[in-house]
Assembly symmetry: none
Homo-oligomer: 414 residues x 2
Amino acid sequence: MVKAEVITIGDEILFGQITDTNTQWIGTELTQIGIRVIRKTSVGDNEADILAALAEAETRADLILITGGLGPTKDDITKKTFCQYFDTELIINEDALALITDFFVKRGREMTDLNRQQAAIPKNAEYVKNSWGTAPGMWIERNGKVFIAMPGVPFEMKNLMSKRLLPKLQAHFETPVIYHKMIKTVGIGESFLAEKIEAWEDALPPHIKLAYLPHFGQVRLRLTATGSNLATLQAEAQAQVEQVLPLIKNNVFGFDTDELETVVGSLLKSQEASVVTAESCTGGYVSHLITKVPGSSAYFLGGVVAYSYEMKMAELGVKQQTLNDFGAVSEQTICEMAEGARLRLGSTYAIATSGIAGPDGGTPDKPVGTVWIGCAGPNGTTARKLMLTNLRETNIQLTATYALDLLRRTILAA
Amino acid sequence: MVKAEVITIGDEILFGQITDTNTQWIGTELTQIGIRVIRKTSVGDNEADILAALAEAETRADLILITGGLGPTKDDITKKTFCQYFDTELIINEDALALITDFFVKRGREMTDLNRQQAAIPKNAEYVKNSWGTAPGMWIERNGKVFIAMPGVPFEMKNLMSKRLLPKLQAHFETPVIYHKMIKTVGIGESFLAEKIEAWEDALPPHIKLAYLPHFGQVRLRLTATGSNLATLQAEAQAQVEQVLPLIKNNVFGFDTDELETVVGSLLKSQEASVVTAESCTGGYVSHLITKVPGSSAYFLGGVVAYSYEMKMAELGVKQQTLNDFGAVSEQTICEMAEGARLRLGSTYAIATSGIAGPDGGTPDKPVGTVWIGCAGPNGTTARKLMLTNLRETNIQLTATYALDLLRRTILAA
């Protein structure tokens, strides 16, 4: 099995100043293509430590991935250190330079010498195009071992790796065939899910592994099948999915790359229906999720974030009386918000959220975490009460997830 | 300066199955007490790799901290490996045993032999009481170097370290004082910033280090001052800040824990002013950032996400004529959006966004990444054109950042 080590460069990681989300992501991706990560190392922005880490890793691993230290500023020294390690020199790579120049021309900005220097890579390095930023990716081979350098900016690193490096690695190394099938559930806790499918899980063949990946009201079930023939693995995984689905049907919203917001989007498109939002406690996060999806303008007309009583009344037509009698966090108000938004903004469906996100604003009968979500559609309005956490951001995310799921269920029932 | 290395044990970390929040926290805490973390290493649950990591770390560091591998199950491997590394044996520690027994009695649970084994620690180890779980902490000294083993469960590790180990470390080692000062900038690229402050940076005394931490349109400048007297370091850092501020005044929005949305919030509160949003391309992300801040309801009334022409007209009062003549992504439309929102929703300020987030919708004269932001206030309306990237999510994040900054500048100018 191909052994890999990941080296992260940057004082800010050692000092705990930034969260390193890169290495976990890299670990997952490499594992999924059958490369085994045997060690992760983080060193500071200094040549000696980087050189030492490279030398140690080379003795143990077939593949060494480095992230960070590729930015244009002084504290970024990966490339210089590479030159010393491989006893070579930096040369301007024309493709990289063209890309960087274009990057600045597009933005109508002046290019500095520092920017130009970003196009320089070690002579022995193969340039790996980074279309998402100005720091180039690098691929270096020596004695059958592969060294890869990537920028530390997460979205640049992730794009570079998904689009260019993972395929290149699979082509370069003899890796086993690995097939992943993801089942995505919402509205059921990890342990309840585990109980429901326990018998099925215990009966899985040894070459098919199951992982629970919980995330804000969702639990993704990942099946990982390892073998030598892709078609066989796909068939085996599919057979397992068909066995487990009946047990959790009510909570499965999609597979693989499906997200709640994309699933909802496709449903709306297929029905030539539209949606609007009426948000209080989620403060725009629901519409953000919907509009993150490319092409969402085809079915999302817009929404109202109504934080104040005045806006709930003026923009959504919630009655003063209702707010006085039941308060903003109530079944009556959430229904008027959803119905008001649907009527006034002229959409097929409307989803509404209102709750106490916290940390303050809780009362004995409505503690922090009390949330109402509602969905208005052609067949009427459904409202649901949620009792969530005492963490503001968690409450916002959970509410948005459950609201999108309520919309999904409403569309499916229509 | 005392050098430390952190070793994390566990396959699940290498394979990316869990997020390692421990090492960032440890890095921050050690840095605060003036211990320099020079390396972080993660290895799997196997003896050979752990032994190798220990041996390497001992050659470089004065302090070696290990987390993980202390649980009652399969990965009780840390203690066995310690015994091998220090050529000693495990013995039951009576204090540890008493604590564990008490732990089970309190919960009315049966104690298994496995549980009892948790009270065993290497003969050469000093027992460090863990009142938050059943895995004991350990402190081992050899040739003036300190080895510490802690459980991997975050809240156990954090309590063990804050309450017991950090004080013990400060008593044991001669630690310098370290002071961090963060300057937060927006709207200027890392390389441009670097050129502006190059002379200042080059003139920094050796005991004050500078790091650039870029993040979506922002660059944080971190000054790290090392010495023996906190007051002196604070004064020195402050003096450096006052030297550099004039060079970048126009881009500095805050310090240390300030965020754009919190800074804007405090400005609005201090002026008893309010804000509303009129979002198109950001689709609710601006109001999400504003409402992430606890207490934002004091100054945020709400907003309108107007994705369709209809909503721009009906909810924000944008003129049909304007949309026809100039399109939704234009200076004229953004001004009408901001002014319409401010008037109709009755706030002191209104921020508006409209642009082509992509991936589709671009035209030769308005390519993907073309964005207009606007801010309406008591003294009129300001609009600004941005040329961003071809990545949808990046464009949303950058637009939101620049929009909040435009609001900030408008309030300050008022």
